[in-house]
């Protein structure tokens, strides 16, 4: 047990980051990035959703409370949502959850919302690497060292 904790606090820490990617844009961008052999952190797990507005509070909270170190939600640029305005509603819902986390001081910076279009393979790789690096610096999700949650 002890070993495990020490390990997780040193610079070797590999954060577990979960990405919820919209099928119509960012997921395709991920494909493009993969096809172009761009480097994506191996600890980044992808969940494909049909629209960023599919994301609800429970999905994000469950991911967070089960110990993900970072959560990235990515969808189509405003105006480009396949369903019209899904991403605008997603942005509000995301902001609401983030406000609750901020108010409770539960590491809101572990949650991020971005827009990445299907053509932005390079940007996708950048966004994912930057976010993963940010989370690495933040350290492990405190939830993971709590036996009481």
């Amino acid at each position: 047990m002890k070993d495990k904790k020490e390990k997780s606090s040193n610079s070797e820490f590999t954060p577990k980051v979960v990405g919820f990617l919209c099928n119509w844009c960012t997921y395709a961008a991920a494909d493009l990035a993969g096809g172009s052999r761009l480097e994506i952190p191996s600890s980044f797990s992808v969940v494909r959703v049909m629209c960023s507005s599919r994301i609800d509070h429970n999905l994000l909270l469950t991911t967070f409370f089960k110990g993900a170190d970072g959560i990235l939600v990515a969808g189509c640029h405003p105006g480009d949502c396949h369903y019209g305005e899904g991403n605008y509603y997603a942005r509000r819902r995301f902001a609401q959850l983030k406000k609750v986390m901020e108010t409770l001081d539960l590491d809101p910076e572990r949650l991020e919302l971005v827009w990445v279009s299907a053509a932005e393979g390079n940007r996708y790789a950048e966004v994912v690497s930057d976010f993963t690096e940010k989370i690495r610096k933040l350290g492990p999700n405190p939830m993971n060292s709590s036996t009481r949650f």
Partner: protein, 389 residues
């Protein structure tokens, strides 16, 4: 403060405040101005109250317009009557301001239909915690009487009432006001055109309340100042109590996961909450994996997530009525946390729960370029942000 619409009338209060209200409502029934009333009546055992839908003016003798406790949040009564349809009859509901506000909030959520409802409320001095009342109805009644006379919730009131800033002049059709004018009588103040029309129809012979209105208003303002100050102090304490992972754990450490707080909440109307659903239950392998990874986990899991999730789901509509705290069997100050977080989330979206001001529910609305408070939280996804084209 909500503006008054039309001219208030004055009721004489020589025989206390309850009698003139009973008479006034009886007159409304008899004249056919309304078809029925929703009011609290004492339960047969005498130690609580129940909402009764009544159309027999004779029953008004047993009605208690201003009860000392709020057992079932009144908005739930409104919902049970109008959830399916508005009905043909006009019903006047006399309730505490937070019950009316929850009703208005539920109407935005499609759970209450206010089309044929006359919402009436009053200067609320606060309510006695349910448990205290059940334990000792007599002395509770005495402290409530005291609260009612001063207009201020003493230390015997529910914590939510001591810090309530919506105890008067909320959006409603009719308002009974007695603060600052008790020597002269009581005001019936119309808060909507519908309310004003009703008052006119009643044709009550009384001097107009125009002259008392400013007195009432200034007393409401002065009590509001005190309660706002009390609220600021309470919020500061809650903010430091719940700070961070350990704070949440401390505050909710003896939560038994009964979800009473949710059942008593007027806003939580979902028939099946995610947190009670099969979908929310983890399978044993997943739990075991968590236990191995962390060294141990609590069972049943996710008590804290329940509260965080409920905050995320409903704090935008929380009316700070305090029912959740009243319902908690282990005395967790649930409402302190919910009111505090609600204040933060509602101000972020420039929204006030319980207002009838035409603003849509924040999550059913958006701006292409978001409100400043929202912008701060999602900068990258905003115009000009790193990921915005």
């Amino acid at each position: 403060m909500t503006e008054t619409t039309g001219i208030p009338v004055v009721l004489k209060t020589d025989n206390g405040v309850e009698t003139p209200v009973r008479e006034f409502l009886g007159q409304m029934l008899d004249s056919g101005a309304v078809d029925a009333l929703i009011m609290p009546l004492k339960v047969p055992s005498g130690d609580s109250f129940a909402w009764i839908l009544l159309n027999d003016a004779g029953m008004l003798d047993d009605a208690v317009p201003f009860p000392a406790v709020m057992p079932v949040q009144g908005a739930r009564a409104l919902r049970s009557l109008t959830r399916k349809e508005k009905g043909d009859l006009t019903v006047l509901a006399l309730m505490r301001p937070c019950e009316i506000r929850a009703g208005i909030e539920l109407s935005k959520l499609g759970q209450v239909n206010t089309d044929n409802l006359i919402l009436a409320t009053y200067d609320c001095p606060g309510a006695i915690p349910l448990q205290d009342y059940v334990n000792d109805p007599e002395s509770s009644e005495a402290s409530f009487k005291e609260m009612f006379t001063t207009g201020e919730p003493g230390e015997n009131a529910k914590p939510a009432c001591r810090t309530c800033v919506n105890f008067s002049a909320v959006d409603s059709d009719l308002h009974f006001g007695f603060l600052g004018i008790s020597d002269e009588g009581m005001l019936v103040i119309p808060g909507s055109t519908r309310g004003a029309e009703l008052l006119q129809k009643m044709d009550i012979q009384s001097e107009t309340g125009d002259k008392l209105l400013p007195l009432w208003k200034s007393e409401v303002e002065s009590i509001l100042k005190k309660r706002t100050a009390a609220r600021d102090i309470a919020f500061k304490k809650t903010e430091s109590d719940i700070k961070g992972f350990s704070g949440m754990l401390n505050v909710f450490s003896n939560c038994i996961g009964c979800h009473n707080c949710q059942s008593a909440c007027p806003i939580c109307y979902c028939r099946l909450c995610y947190f009670g659903s099969e979908a929310s239950r983890s399978n044993p392998e997943a739990l075991m994996n968590q236990a191995i990874k962390r060294g141990g986990i609590s069972l049943p899991p996710e008590r804290i997530m329940f509260h965080t999730g409920r905050l995320a789901h409903m704090s935008l509509s929380c009316v700070s009525c305090g029912q959740c705290s009243d319902a908690c069997p282990v005395s967790i100050p649930v409402a302190d946390v919910f009111s505090f977080v609600a204040e933060q989330t509602q101000s972020t979206f420039e929204y006030k729960a319980g207002r009838n001001d035409g603003k849509p529910l924040p999550l059913r609305d958006f701006k292409k370029s978001e409100l400043p408070g929202v912008h701060e939280l999602v900068k990258d996804a905003e115009p000009g942000g790193a990921s915005h084209e």
